[in-house]
């Protein structure tokens, strides 16, 4: 048995109000989320002795965010730091927290994120490329990398824009059942098809939101977690992998590291795709979700287009995904809310959008220019 399987747990989750929050800052939203997660866990602030943070795109202190946040909430942690991996950060910090409590570096680690990207101005349109920027040729913005994936997937496998639309429609349907989601009005495939092009082949409704909000997740050992307020949510499997070579690696567009991250998480948890009751799959763009199904072994390479049709990924289907609405419709918290929803599904506290009998939830993250990937298996204790 893997020495880390089921050894740690998520014991508190909290999210601030989401959307466009007047007068909010990245810091104020993170603090509110922290307070709510503390309340959810039943822990006192004095028990938090580990602090891991992701600075928001609007956090002026950037990688010194852990100092700013720690001072604001009055924590002098035994273990701390900040990490910047875009949508790959939430999962990476969750794993780091699990390793830290398992090693005894800290007893209770709060992982925190806040951003005021809607109010403070989006920073997601920059160009990639070291040295000569790809902006010389007009290649810029996060959407473009995912459009490269979508266009090649369509060319190789015949995947269609309507199939991408299935993902957008499913996420929006789930958001319609989530009172805390930002975009709750249901959409149709036709709405998706009629939404304007952003970077073709991606439409507006293939793209995530830009949101203000904060999220906090508190991690401790499985042993300590049994004394906390809510039902036990074990961290059963964890995996991460990265591709840094955007240009040198021919299959970079296909995000091959996702497969490695998933395989490691499955192996640690001793589960496979058939065991997953519900999945929170990182959805900065709809095309990102397609690739998760293939790398996660839910369907064969190139077959994710047909896989998402016919209600399979909606509540009541074979594999409901992004049951709170995801980055596409709940709020763009760069994957942090995927962990929150994963924990809530396993606890069985999701009301109308609860997947009946959900015991094993897969949560994934990815970030930067398709560079970072992680996967986590949460299991009912």
């Amino acid at each position: 048995m893997h020495p880390l399987r089921d050894k740690t747990a998520v014991v508190g989750v909290g999210a601030s109000p989401q959307g466009k929050i007047p007068d909010a800052t990245a810091l104020s939203l993170a603090v509110e989320a922290f307070k709510r997660a503390l309340d959810d866990s039943g822990l006192r602030k004095e028990q938090i002795d580990g602090l891991l943070t992701m600075p928001g795109s609007t956090s002026p202190e950037a990688a010194l965010n852990y100092l700013r946040f720690g001072e604001t909430v009055g924590i002098n942690p035994r273990y701390t730091g900040s990490k910047v991996m875009g949508g790959g950060t939430a999962g990476a910090l969750l794993h780091e927290a699990a390793l830290a409590v398992n090693a005894g570096f800290a007893n209770h680690v709060a992982c925190v994120f806040g951003d005021a990207a809607a109010t403070g101005g989006s920073r997601f349109s920059r160009a990639s490329g070291w040295g000569d920027s790809f902006a010389i040729w007009g290649f810029m913005a996060a959407c473009a990398n995912s459009a490269i994936t979508a266009a090649r997937h369509m060319a190789l496998y015949g995947t269609t824009s309507r199939q991408l639309g299935e993902i957008a429609v499913a996420c929006r349907y789930h958001a319609s059942l989530n009172p805390n989601a930002v975009m709750r009005k249901p959409i149709t495939i036709e709405d998706h098809q009629n939404s304007r092009w952003i970077v073709k082949p991606l439409h507006l409704l293939d793209c995530c939101l830009i949101s203000d909000g904060g999220v906090c997740v508190i991690v401790t050992t499985a042993e300590r977690a049994r004394d906390c307020k809510k039902p036990l949510v074990l961290i059963s499997g964890m995996g991460q992998a990265y591709t840094t070579e955007n240009m040198e690696r021919e299959d970079w567009w296909y995000v091959p590291h996702q497969k490695l991250a998933l395989a490691d998480a499955y192996k640690m948890a001793a589960v496979g795709p058939k065991d997953i009751d519900v999945a929170q799959l990182y959805d900065n763009f709809t095309s990102s979700v397609l690739v998760w199904f293939e790398h996660g072994g839910f369907c064969k390479v190139g077959e994710s287009g047909p896989f998402v049709e016919g209600g399979r990924i909606r509540l009541g289907g074979e594999l409901p995904i992004n049951t709170a609405g995801g980055n596409l419709s709940e709020s763009y918290m760069e994957g942090w809310l995927h962990i929150v929803e994963g924990a809530r599904q396993v606890r069985g506290e999701c009301g109308e959008r609860q997947v009946k009998g959900a015991e094993v939830c897969l949560v994934t993250g990815r970030g930067q220019a398709l560079n970072c990937a992680n996967a986590t298996i949460l299991r009912k204790g």
Binding site: G131, S133, A135, W137, G138, M140, I148, A151, A155, M247
Partner: protein, 139 residues
Amino acid sequence: MSEYTKPLPTITDENREFWEGARRGKLRMQKCRDCGHIRYPISHCCPKCLSYNFEWTDLSGRGEVFSYVVFHQLYNQAFKDDVPYNVALVQLEEGPRMYSNVVGVDNDAVKVGDKVEAVFDPVTPEVTIPRFRLRQPAK
């Protein structure tokens, strides 16, 4: 002729051969003197064998469209007269891939897998940007 306001490279000792090559109508990249790997983006170090020894080599300029997108959203005001404009990820015959634009045809006329060849677009007296055009099918 109006002033060129879109992003331009800053010419340095590291990238000068690439941009001087483009001015002379040649696509040039770095070839490792130790392992022979042709690399892109430009770097002082071979990502395969870590050697610092390299030479600049002329490429054929031929390749094919590896992936292809069309920007409708305006992310940078300098492109406001260009949208919708295309960007192709081009697979070069010699191995490397690079981003560029396919010129001379409608955006909708380009598909993944199309054969392309480099053309050179002088945008300022100092800078010529390599772009690509569709190659005629072989006779």
